[in-house]
């Protein structure tokens, strides 16, 4: 069962084609890496899938809903975490959880149970009443991810979620991603870090608005006869004509 399906999805801004006829599918519970240099069109593609931006042409369905007509339904069934920090620093840990639980319509009972579970998994029980601003960056990002999947969405979109975090914390962050995927949540993630690309089930690499490669990291490495994803990426990205 596919959670994301796109067919020739395109977005133009005037004469500039930001996203150029991309087609791909992402299955349930899959961890899908969405790679590309800056300006390749990743963010635009992701915004269309989240219902924030209307495509110029092509088809796309997210969690079974159409990106043109059913954006409200899409929004209920997805989670989102941006490269900028997405929690409120002047709110306490539990207040942030309650806020986003409320926005996604969780009932009081569900929310209380979820809050306890989330804090236990992250070992943040003692920080329940701490202002989020006072937490270290790595903790904040783990918390932000957990809040993004609090309502058990069909798919969670992560836009460069681990920027500025040390490798150890990044590793822990990916453990959370795996746990979410095991629960059946599809993970759609963009990243700069090629070691993270290795963690994905499948990876697509965008160059100048088009998807130039799409396969498992293992298959990509053998196709491009590369030692690691970094070499694969550079082999493709070198073809890019667009600048930043």
């Amino acid at each position: 069962m596919n959670v994301i399906e796109t067919e020739n999805l395109t977005k133009r801004f005037g004469n500039f084609t930001a996203v150029d006829h991309i087609s791909f599918t992402v299955g349930e519970g899959e961890i899908f890496g969405f790679l590309g240099a800056n300006g390749a069109g990743k963010t635009t593609a992701m915004r269309m899938l989240c219902g924030l931006s209307v495509p110029t042409s092509g088809e796309a369905h997210v969690a079974g809903f159409d990106v043109y007509r059913e954006t409200e339904s899409i929004k209920k069934h997805i989670g989102y975490m941006s490269q900028k920090f997405s929690l409120y620093g002047d709110l306490k840990v539990w207040e942030n959880i309650r806020l986003f639980g409320g926005i996604y319509g969780l009932s009081g009972k569900q929310l209380a149970a979820k809050t306890d579970e989330l804090l236990r998994v992250l070992s943040l029980e003692s920080e329940r009443n701490t202002l989020v601003d006072a937490l270290p960056l790595g903790w904040k990002q783990k918390l932000a991810f957990s809040v993004a999947v609090l309502h058990e969405p069909r798919v969670v979109f992560l836009d460069e979620p681990t920027g500025g975090v040390d490798p150890v914390t990044r590793r822990q962050f990916w453990e959370l991603i795996y746990q979410a995927a095991e629960r059946g949540i599809t993970v759609f993630v963009t990243t700069h870090y090629m070691d993270e690309a290795e963690y994905c089930n499948r990876v697509s690499i965008m160059v100048d608005g088009k998807i130039e490669a799409l396969d498992s990291p293992q298959a990509l490495k053998s196709t491009f006869q590369a030692k690691n994803m970094n070499e694969v990426f550079h082999a493709l990205a070198r073809k890019a004509k667009r600048g930043e």
Binding site: K84, F85, D90, G102
Partner: protein, 376 residues
Amino acid sequence: MKQFISFLRKEFYHIFRDKRTMLILLAMPVILIVLFGYAITTEIKSVQVAVLDQSRDEATTRIIDRIGASEYFELYKVLDSYEEGEALFRQGKIRLLLVFPPRYASSSDAPVQLLADATDPNEATQITSYATAIISQWKMERQSEMNAVTAQSPGGNGQLSAGITPVVHLLYNPLMKGAYNFVPGVMGLILMLICALMTSVGIVKEKEIGTMEVLLVSPMKPIYIILAKAAPYLLLSLVNIITILALSYFLLDVPIAGSLTLLIAISILYALVALCLGLLISTIANTQQAAMLVSAVVLMLPVMLLSGMVFPIENMPVILQWLSNIVPAKWYIIAVKDVMIKGLSAGAIWKEVSVLAFMVVVLIVVSVKRFKIRLE
């Protein structure tokens, strides 16, 4: 609804946890009222006066006494020469000089010369008119005393003065207190500041830190986001309006002649205009600084300069008078003065109310349109 309440609660946390801003918002009306009430006053009080009395008779002595006794003037010195007066003007010791001609009392309508320091022309006009009023009042009284004497004396032909005596009665503000003018102005300023500036900064802040994106991806309706942002500031501005009214009533003795309910109702209407302006600014500005700057220049300056709060609109060039019509504060201040000072009822301010209501509708339509475009 549950969504909305969760979000509204968050907005209140934002405001209450930012202690410094909170303190500024609550203290500002108090500071402004005290400042305008006691420091920045346009009223004339204790102006230093010198007198050059070349007559030194009973009439001039009594006039000088009266001038000195009035609360507007304080007798600085009785001079011996005209040059001395000029020196005092140059040193800034006095602002008014009275010169009585010789044999003042014996001539029936001898002129008194008034010399005023006109570096501040408005003040000079006021000072001279006060002094003139005191002198002519004294003259009138003396005239009627003399008439009474002549009428009683046998054989007197009752030569009554044919002079017309104007009786001046100042309506609504008999004591000519500046507070009657600036209290409505301060209300207009504070409401604009809190509702427009704080709302625009609040929304732009979410754009800046990136949480706006998360909210837009969520099922939360944008209109709820806007309403939840606006509600706390509306409440806060109501608290401020009540503070201002209480301060001006108890501290500055400004009466509330009309209906308090009506007064609060217009204030809410005006606050809505300000909120919509804040919303519009938030769709234009991308950083908090930009939002603040736009609010300050586009909103604060017109409230200060074009609303009639400081400078009378009637005295402005026609183009500015015309421009003042699009300043919401102008209409609000007129309505507040009508209700608060003159004690008029709702019927008298229908024009101001309709203008403000019209502004709300236009601004909401434009802002919502722009807010949607921004989502793209």
